[in-house]
């Protein structure tokens, strides 16, 4: 699943570790989501969307 997480994080100049701390997950989880190796659960996707003030479908693209 493709997503804009890396772009959104870079816009805020957050490191993966900093984003992980804000989400309450490990840095490995953030990295795996960004690289598309892991698709987050719905609750985590909602947390990510809420953190960046966007809708889930504007961050995650299930088509790719």
């Amino acid at each position: 699943m493709k997503n804009r997480l890396r772009v959104l994080r870079a816009e805020r100049q957050w490191s993966q570790g900093a984003l992980a701390e804000r989400l309450g997950v490990s840095r490995q989880t953030v990295n795996a989501i960004e690289t598309g190796k892991y698709a987050p659960s719905l609750p985590l996707a909602f947390t990510i969307a809420r953190l960046f003030g966007e809708r889930i479908e504007d961050i995650f693209d299930p088509e790719e």
Binding site: S15, G24, V25, S26, R27, Q28, N31, K37, Y38
Partner: protein, 146 residues
């Protein structure tokens, strides 16, 4: 400050790779109980198999000690699993699945090798296979989601 976190030392990166602060705390707690369980198990086994083993209720109490610590270790592991994030939970699940599969394959398949002339092994050796398979499985899953 955020930029500084991208220039972490190797140890700091490794610590961060091991999960959140709560994960590391729970991992150390689990490993501590596991070590205590193993030490107690070895001590109890040596005492019960010594030349002057305890008898009666004392022997039962000594045999029960490692079992109680084993239950505490399992509880500590379950606590870690419930507290950790979803990716690490998946990595643990894949590690356990690989370890379980290795142990079952060993238990079911090795007797045929024994019939073919391979050395006889005890049932306890499958625990070693499970442990090695679990460790390998965790490494593999960690690499897969790196």
């Amino acid at each position: 400050m955020e930029e500084a976190s991208t220039r972490r030392s190797g140890w700091a990166c490794l610590r961060h790779q091991l999960g959140t602060e709560a994960d590391r705390r729970n991992q150390f707690r689990f490993l501590g109980w596991l070590a205590l369980w193993m030490v107690t198990f070895v001590a109890a086994a040596q005492w019960l198999r010594s030349d002057t083993p305890p008898a009666g209720p004392a022997a039962w109490a000594i045999a029960s000690g490692p079992m109680i610590l084993g239950v505490v270790t399992v509880i500590a592991y379950l606590h870690y699993l419930r507290q950790t994030d979803e990716l690490i939970r998946r990595i643990q699940l894949e590690g356990l699945a690989i370890g379980f599969a290795a142990a079952v394959l060993f238990l079911v398949g090795y007797p045929l090798f024994e019939d073919a002339g391979a050395p006889t092994v005890s049932l306890g050796d499958s625990v070693l296979v499970l442990a090695v398979g679990w460790s390998f499985g965790q490494l593999y899953a960690t690499w897969r989601y790196r």
